[in-house]
Symmetry: C3
Subunit: 673 residues, 3 copies
């Protein structure tokens, strides 16, 4: 299989006589793939059933003449004006009951039957047209599903679909009433048709309804994608299908969404203007990349990688010299085998006219083109060696959209956020250059020496069993505050003290707790065998007050009425150990925990590095590649095993990485030995 | 009459086989009253006219078997889904014209005729059913009326009701036009039917319309309650009726609302998550309690007293050890004779599943149960002695919803708030342990040695006369900035310099004023006979510039172009004295004023105490009880007359009150002597 | 022509028997003009076609008896209730699709055909009635057009009008699609009727649509005014027509709006409560006054000048002693020949009852009356000498609503604002007492030695030619960052590097740029011949990275990856010089630039003065008048040519201006010599 580097290209935005120039410039840059067709519904079908693919055929052929293959995006994120004019109830409705207008993109209700008919007609025609085109190497469905759909859609169609979804789940209205506890505030329903979408109401909705609504919305998106996947799979069985996910974006369950795809893709804009300057922290980007690799435990495509400042009404920072290379290598290091830059050339018009491409508005190659051209040349040989070999970590974070949804509905503390807590745990290992995977509840925990499972707020017997089984067989498991509070229908457990049945394995019981609003609760790490015994820190957002059973304390609260009670505990259980973190500790205490866990679980670290400099490994057929990635703007030194040699042969200051630089070190691979 | 301690209990939330356990635990704790039935409309009437009271009958009987009486709440805050399905125009409409959805509580328009018919049918059936049940000791109407109704309802029904209300008030449209000054901006109406509810408009509404709208909304709530009061009173003449008020909440005029009740009740959540941590300041809670006692000049019930952390999406702090006892005694000290804790057991489901009860989710008594059990045992004998004896202060604050409404419509300064100013004056006496009552304009001022009347912005001849008569006969009266600016229809006075006719009594005239936005205006207290002559302070939010007539200055501005003009004045008038405070002074200057007023009015202080430690007196039949309440988390010393002895007999450090502690001191009562 | 001083007067707000008193007080104060009739639609026409002008006739006659003329305002900003009842679709709709309610003012859709019919009927009747009244000296159309209309109106009528406007502009839908680039996101339209008003949509609208929408809205307001101008002009050809503009308010293009007027008027409230205290900065007020003079290059009326604190719900600061005189003289100094104070007496009722007039609510003249009476007496002789002689500057700022609209749609940096940048340049000259005019693109640049043209974001060949021609012939031109980025349809230029064809004249090229979000980029001024070489400063909001052609650098960036590249450049071109400012510099660097430009362009400064003390010149027939205006609250000294003598004859400390004081200095005028 060839190695792909490419761009998102919109030939319809440019005069026909420019295409040839573009193709030549791409070829000279080393590119061999483009994504096209996304958002071009009105070009493909200017009127109902009038299909025009000839313009794209021409572009595909022209590019192929320069050795460039095409992946086609279905343009269903952009229903054209004539469709909205014909069926205006496709326009979505927000939680205030307000119908949004035409004029951006995804001004659509994804449950709308008429809209789906339009999609079926178009995508069928596209699939039929391109099924045998040898230059078409695959399909992307829609664009960033879920994006632009926050707070949408609560129209009658969606409300009805939600009621059907509930009927399927609960069977009878009596059962739903029981499971949701509608007896509270007289919310008993006589029939499913009485159940509302959670539009704004004078107080707050039932949290069970809200959780099911979030699940329904995710399922709706999955179903919306599946409509197209099914069409393409049945017509073009040999062309793979993907979708461009957005890292840790959480409107849709990506484990579900990706399960219908041949491979996952990802979009990443490190200096996106919507981030606090100077942009997304490196540990967050790394977490996103590891997560996307993890949704299918398979290497992925970068379908949109930033190639210039992003912009709508506001404009983000210009990538600094070196950053485009850095981002490319960063993605590859974490498991991306194909890089597609967004976009080829900065568009002259429309909402994204300041969402910059590699080429500036005037189309003349400049600094960014040159840097990426060099990067492609540098990385093609590396990718040939490593392509398809999936990075695999020894430890994993259990990631659950269900837990995230439940915590979003009731965050307890205004700043408590499931994904932020996940990222904090991730970061404590990232800082130590210990790789992590993400796993879903349905995967096999036994693949990992250590599983970190933050905020297991919703619980059921199956998950309890699975967690206990994992530890019993020798696993190391970290559970945190608010574990086991509720059942899967967002109803509190009423039969045992917290954390329920898991309390046995953890050797603890929780009979009191505190939401320390406006308080700084002191922590002290007291566990042994760690670098800095007596390390002090801070507990934030929540404090479970732990009664010890068989567990041993590792850290204590040092203030409030629960002063000197345990904040972190460990308990031996079967052949393994179960840890409980009763609060959200700051990075000092989490660092101590990570050190302890590394030791106890026997995890390998790739070396030591300063803050914001990471060490990440890709194994290859011939050699292994250690990427030392310096996300800061000045030179930094790394400490790695001296067996590693720099790929570029440089020997002087071989372990210093320049500002925004990446050093690649290699060694003979296990496979290659 | 027996002393009641109890809980809010929702047996319908729990399995039938748990009820017995609950009843036994309640009995063991010393409880003898529950409130039940509130919010259970769908259980009482699952379909139109199908009444089911048997479940509640059973609960009442079972509890009675454990010596526990029942107060029934009417569930009209929670119209069930079948009613909304049948009559969807019951759903309320906000100021944007947006109809709110079903799904929380009070998703209702209180003027809606169909909704009232539903209520009439249900409440009549309930009253008929329970009129002779000897275990039913009374009724609570609805729940926290006005709550959840901010910004609601502006539907056509309410608009029409408003127009009827206006017609009744003004008689003719010509009169309304004249009184409102609709000639401004061509807002003259030809008919009442043209008058809008104050939905959002491109600029701002006529302030006279806005004030009448606020009065109408209050009257609507009163009328809404009266519908049920009338039904119950006519069917169950021997069962008293109450409603759970919310301290200084201001959507509804509580003097009016309480006038239809047999006694007032109050809800108080000192660590409510909606307060800035660590919770509601103690002076505010004290003010709320004194206010609720004052609305009927009668002791009241705590119908909902916090028994655990509050919570919706966010969760408040856990009550610290000692706080539940403290809050109980705090309420009793200020005139609550019955304490009902909210709620018995933390609900497993629904919006309030983190609004904690005494028992945790798992139903096992813990720290909070034990603390309250001890508290009940401690307080029952005390309450037997003091029950029904109403605390009465020597000084009072004139409290007016009308003034509050008018200031809310036009706060002048963004931070000026009527209730906040009232609380500032309250606090200046509270800090000195001088008790205060609140009085309405209709009460007899002569009962008090001192009346403080902040922000008497709206004025009429009757109130002017009453105020002047009060002073003439020897009263001490404090008036403040912006007195007498407007008539009762929110129209400015046009015939005299400020403060109008009251200027004569006050011995001053105001010909200039300043809204010191962004300024810190210096103040200096210069009045004599006070501890700290020359006390400096700050004037905030407004500065009347006073021209002295016969009045004597007590404080001066010390900056701005009105530097060295008087900021506080006093004038002898008849047998009394009238004070004018031309600004909102900070606590230093207000403290000086309070000291002076104590001396001049001869007010008794109960002793001296550090900040956030209060001394509050309840008189009893046999003995008097002085509660020394320490709202801080560490020990504090109080200075009181050594005649007081500690009720618990403790003699060592008898005048030190522990953190979150309450010491009760007693002496022989006047009555008991 | 007589000199006018006057007030805005609403006799309909007061009892008939007060009118005489008011007229006498006005006359005593030296007033001789009133504006009346504005907002009085319901008085003029209480029912359709029932006209009542007799009350105003009476007021006009009574005032005339006291030597007071009348300017009539048409009351079309206040459609009465009966009109809204009859035609409720006159109510406007916001961007959420929400219809606003009746109850303030300008609750109207300006495109509504029925509303325009109502206006036509009323204004025709008014014009017919007053065409021959010799006491009526002119007309004001409506009130502050555009005010209250932010976010309005997106009703069907406006949407349709927008579509018509687009059809007229673009001719065919194909052309619109091409010009807007609707191919982006499949937004191609088949017909104009598909085009939306920019209601809220799930993402963002096409920026070309948004810019045309803003132009359409401005044109709609101009057209709305023209309806009335045409009626009055045709019926009352000898009575001039004006409108009260609002300085640099930007909803409507004032160059367009004023083109239909005989003279411009302005409203100014220096301590308006909506400004950050203590009020609007003096340089901003000066810029507004200079701008209003510039829209017609003609002296103007102050139609509403603050005469007391402003207020709605909040109240602004009271004018300090001296400020009313200062504001009056400030306006005159900048070209106002007539001053009308808002308002005569503070209204007792309605939304503006705290928008104070000269007289307080009780109607008794006080401090403000006295100060203004003295001011009128002082200024009448001066105005007689200077009236009609238009102040003219040697330098001008190019002001463009188009550029402002485009930058508002896409500000790049969250704090970048076209008008704020214009004001920053204005201030750098204002601080040096160098007068500026404002000019539109259509005016002759050759009238000025220097033209400053900030943020020429939208560009076309005609403007390029005009700018280059200006420099070629000897002009000094300042262009700034983001010049020439787009064409007039808000589409980016695609054919040349920035700044396009102007790059030749400027001697530079821009191939890279940075939006320094969260960064402080250092600057250093290095140009010679300036006071402080090496002056350091800061670059904000945007950094063009300049490649020098023939240009010479004047300042450099001193940080970031573009450290030591030029930030300000100059290039000789023909007989002139073209400057480029690649960023938004702070005032230190802008000050250096202003000093350089003064020298290079040979601009006259009126002298030196401390911050917030300005020197402004009005030339007269006999004498010239130099106003030294001290906007601070304490005495300040000015340095001017000693030939200037104080008008009041004062010789001691003749060059010290008291706090809030204005010294007038005179010399023989050129004309008078």
């Amino acid at each position: 299989m060839s190695v792909f580097f490419g761009v998102d290209y919109y030939p319809e935005h440019w005069a026909r006589d420019r295409w040839e120039t573009d193709a030549k410039l791409m070829q000279e840059m080393g590119l061999n793939i483009v994504r096209m067709g996304e958002f071009s519904w009105a070009k493909f079908e200017p009127g109902e059933g009038e299909f025009h693919f000839e313009w794209l055929d021409e572009a595909i052929a022209l590019l192929a003449g320069h050795g460039i293959k095409t992946l086609i995006g279905t343009p269903t994120a952009a229903p054209p004006a004539w469709i909205i004019e014909k069926d205006p109830d496709i326009l979505p409705v927000d939680s205030q009951g307000q119908q949004k207008g035409f004029g951006g993109r995804h001004h659509d209700c994804q449950s709308n039957v008429k809209y789906r008919e339009h999609i079926r007609r178009l995508v069928t025609a596209m699939a039929e047209h391109y099924k045998d085109n040898e230059n078409v190497v695959g399909w992307q469905i829609d664009n960033e599903l879920g994006n632009s759909h926050e707070d949408l859609c609560m129209c009658d169609s969606c409300r009805h679909a939600f009621q059907q979804w509930l009927k399927k789940k609960y069977g009878s209205i009596e059962n739903l009433n029981k499971e949701w506890g509608t007896v509270f505030w007289s919310q008993d329903y006589d029939k499913f048709s009485q159940i509302p979408a959670p539009k704004v109401t004078p107080t707050m909705h039932n949290p069970s309804l809200l959780l099911d609504w979030k699940r329904f919305c995710s399922d709706l998106v999955v179903d919306f994608q599946k409509l197209q996947v099914d069409i393409i799979k049945s017509i073009c069985p040999h062309q793979p299908v993907t979708h461009n996910l957005m890292g840790l974006y959480d409107k849709t369950d990506y484990f579900d969404l990706a399960s219908d795809l041949d491979f996952a893709s990802n979009d990443q804009y490190p200096t996106g203007y919507y981030f606090t300057p100077p942009g997304q922290p490196s540990y967050e980007i790394s977490a996103c990349l590891d997560f996307i690799r993890s949704v299918k435990k398979k290497n992925f495509w970068m379908m949109e990688l930033e190639s210039g400042p992003t912009g709508g009404a506001f404009i983000g920072r210009m990538p600094r010299p070196g950053q485009l290379r850095l981002w490319t290598l960063h993605c590859i290091a974490h498991g991306s085998d194909t890089i597609v830059y967004f976009r080829w050339r900065t568009c002259l018009f429309g909402t994204e006219q300041f969402w910059h491409g590699i080429l500036p508005h005037n189309g003349v190659p400049g600094r960014r083109y040159q840097e990426l051209k060099d990067t492609v040349a540098e990385m093609v040989p590396v990718l040939k060696d490593i392509q398809g070999i999936v990075p695999k970590a020894e430890a994993a974070i259990l990631f659950s959209y269900d837990q995230n949804n439940a915590i979003k509905i009731q965050p307890h503390h205004p700043e408590l956020d499931y994904i932020e807590q996940v990222k904090k745990y991730y970061d404590s290992f990232y800082e130590r250059n210990i790789p992590l995977d993400f796993i879903s509840e349905t995967e096999d925990f036994q693949d990992y020496k250590l599983v970190i499972a933050p905020l297991q707020f919703l619980m059921d017997a199956a998950l309890e069993d699975k967690l206990m089984e994992y530890v019993k067989k020798g696993g190391r498991l970290v559970l945190t505050m608010r574990t086991g509070v509720k059942n899967r229908n967002n109803v509190c457990m009423g039969d045992m003290p917290l954390p329920g049945r898991l309390g046995g394995m953890l050797g603890i019981k929780i009979e009191d707790y505190d939401c320390p609003l406006g308080l700084t609760v002191k922590l002290e790490w007291t566990g042994t065998g760690i670098k800095d015994p007596g390390q002090e820190g801070v507990a934030d957002k929540w404090c479970d007050i732990v009664t010890l059973g068989d567990a041993k304390p590792l850290a204590f609260y040092r203030s409030e009425y629960y002063k000197d009670t345990p904040a972190v505990t460990v308990n031996s259980y079967g052949a393994g150990k179960a840890y409980y973190v009763a609060t959200e500790p700051d990075k000092h205490i989490l660092g101590q925990l990570a050190e302890l866990l590394r030791e106890e679980a026997g995890l390998e670290s790739l070396g030591e590095s300063p803050k914001d400099v990471e060490l990440t490994l890709r194994k290859g057929r011939a050699r292994d590649y250690l990427f030392a990635i310096n996300h800061t703007d000045c030179g930094q030194e790394v400490r790695i095993d001296r067996m590693w040699k720099r790929l570029d042969g440089c020997r002087e200051n071989a372990f210093v990485v320049g500002g925004y630089g990446v050093n690649i070190y290699t060694r003979q691979s296990d496979a290659g030995q």
